[in-house]
Amino acid sequence: MHIVVPIKQVPETSNVQMDRETGTMIRSGSAAIVNPLDLYSLEAALQIREQIGGKITVITMGPPSAVKVLKEAIAMGCDEAVHISDRAFGGADTWATSYTLSEAIRKLEADIVITGERATDGDTGQVGPGIAAWLNMSLVTFTAHIKEISDSHIIAERLVEEGYQTVRAALPAVVTVVKEIATPRLPTLRGKKKSMQINIPVWDAEALHAKPEYLGLKGSPTRVVKIETPKVTRTCIMVKAIDEESVRNAVTQLIQFLDDRDLVPVQKRSGV
């Protein structure tokens, strides 16, 4: 079983504070980390390997610095890593990204590809399904539990609007996972050692035999035309409630406020 896990390097946001004046993010430095939601796909891959054996290759498409996230994945216990990097890949949207990654995955001959639900920067969740389409693999999205996996198929529960939906999919398959799938483990000492020694190959456009017209910004059907920081349009009515009377008044004000917006429940009497 060859499990391939594409992970993304994203800017760190957990220490971010909001600027009270402008309502924008204050980034404390711009440290790059593994997309937090990719820790769940890495953990899912590790658990599958524990269960049925096989090899995990972790891949990322990104600038030279992105090699750091691959090393982190190795430290968690992944077997091999490939860094997909070329100037030509820059500026790719999800269409071009999924193309580029799928060419690497094709080369790796994956049986199962596990991706995060979405990346916390671009926040699209489109790359996983895109990879499935490029490689004509089965697709299982929003996976919350893996119930059964073998060399030929996977049975998994998806978290959908109606509840948990159980699907059976033939391998090879792309599986995108949500946080509920597993609790990510920490890197081990042995893993860390390995990550320091491991030789991570870099694949460029030529190594992938990729179509140049499908790569990077040039190959991307979408264009960002404008980036705006939304103005804080909300003005907060703040009411303090410190004792019994002020609590009562504050709540009365709140209910009035909600009433003006038609948000207060009206109980229907039975029979009406």
Partner: protein
């Protein structure tokens, strides 16, 4: 103008259309009017009564493309994308909108690759660029901290998924007329590699937060599991659903489907109430586009207050019971 048609993908479940289908038609109508074009919608289903299809027309569709086959009982991404690929090639729509639901967010990115076009995820605003007729797709990114406007200049259709609840449904006009076109089934569309075995729908406290008008969330401020009950009570009183911060979920006070934020659900309810929630950026990422935000927090510097419309600064354990009391009184006097 046929080559400028605006399309939406309607969603149906158990013989009924989902409300997101009508939200998409509200979006689509505005675009079609600007372009002077027709609004069409696609329905893929195993059985949908005629009255349901008519509802699409009375909610502004001019044409309904209806594909009806027992193989479409469950939404399977590959099969749905195959059908849409055929329809797109056959009818060449200018724009195709789907809901940013688990279905839309699976099918559209798959389709975008099949038909070689761009796709913008989870949009909250759409408009038409006057000079070109291109679709301008605006969406929150980086946890809602920026708004990015994206277009697809050279590929058709221009595709976007739209955040549920981010539009109001236009009122129904039963006098509207339109055409229902039955599309013949092609067995080649049916992809048998993925099959749905079952759906657990009746699990105790399962929620679909994305579809709720009102979400009342609790966080670590509730202090312990038993106290979380008052959030449940408040949500019931409001006819809303229970949400939770990651902290509350990690402590086992609520299940994962209730989690709101970066690693949980992104929602746009009409009313979001955060109780004992500090409003970390990761939490705000999931609620920023809510229509109205209310915070109850003992700390007047809590982050959530910065994005709130109304905040009560004080002890939730005295405030929430008072809300319940006053609402109860009100209901009894109506």
């Amino acid at each position: 103008m046929k080559d400028r048609d605006v399309w939406t993908l309607s969603e149906a479940h158990n013989g009924k259309l989902k409300t997101v289908s009508f939200e998409l038609l509200s979006r689509g109508r505005a675009l079609a009017d600007t372009l002077g074009s027709r609004l069409c919608t696609v329905v893929l289903s195993d059985s949908l009564p005629e009255v349901e299809l008519q509802k699409l027309i009375s909610h502004n569709a001019d044409i309904v493309y209806y594909v009806n086959n027992p193989c479409l009982k469950e939404t399977v991404c590959e099969t749905f994308a195959n059908i849409l690929q055929f329809l797109v090639k056959e009818y060449t729509p200018h724009v195709l909108l789907a809901a940013a639901t688990t279905s839309g967010r699976s099918i559209l990115p798959y389709l975008a690759v099949l038909v070689h076009t761009g796709l913008t995820a989870d949009c909250t605003e759409l408009s038409i660029e006057p000079e070109t007729g291109n679709l301008l797709q605006t969406r929150p990114a980086i946890g809602g901290n920026i708004m990015a406007t994206i277009k697809t200049p050279d590929h058709r259709p221009q595709m976007a998924t739209i955040r549920p609840k981010s539009t109001r449904i236009l009122s129904e006009d039963t006098t509207r007329t339109g055409e229902i076109i039955q599309v013949n089934w092609d067995p080649a569309w049916f992809d048998q590699r993925v099959s749905v075995l079952e759906t657990r729908e009746d699990i105790g406290d399962f929620v679909s937060l994305e579809e709720a008008d009102i979400v009342i969330s609790g966080g670590r401020g509730l202090k312990k599991r038993d106290n979380f009950q008052i959030i449940q009570e408040l949500a019931e009183t409001f006819g809303g659903e229970v949400g939770a911060s990651r902290d509350a979920v990690d402590r086992g006070w609520a299940n994962y489907p209730h989690q709101v934020g970066l690693s949980g659900k992104t929602i746009s309810p009409r009313l979001y109430m955060g109780i004992g929630i500090s409003g970390a950026v990761q939490h705000l990422a999931g609620i920023k586009t809510s229509e109205c935000i209310v915070a109850v927090n003992s700390d007047e510097h809590a982050n959530l207050l910065q994005v709130a419309d109304f905040a009560i600064v004080g002890d939730l354990f005295s405030i929430v019971p008072e809300i319940l009391r006053q609402l109860g009184q009100r209901m009894n006097t109506i």
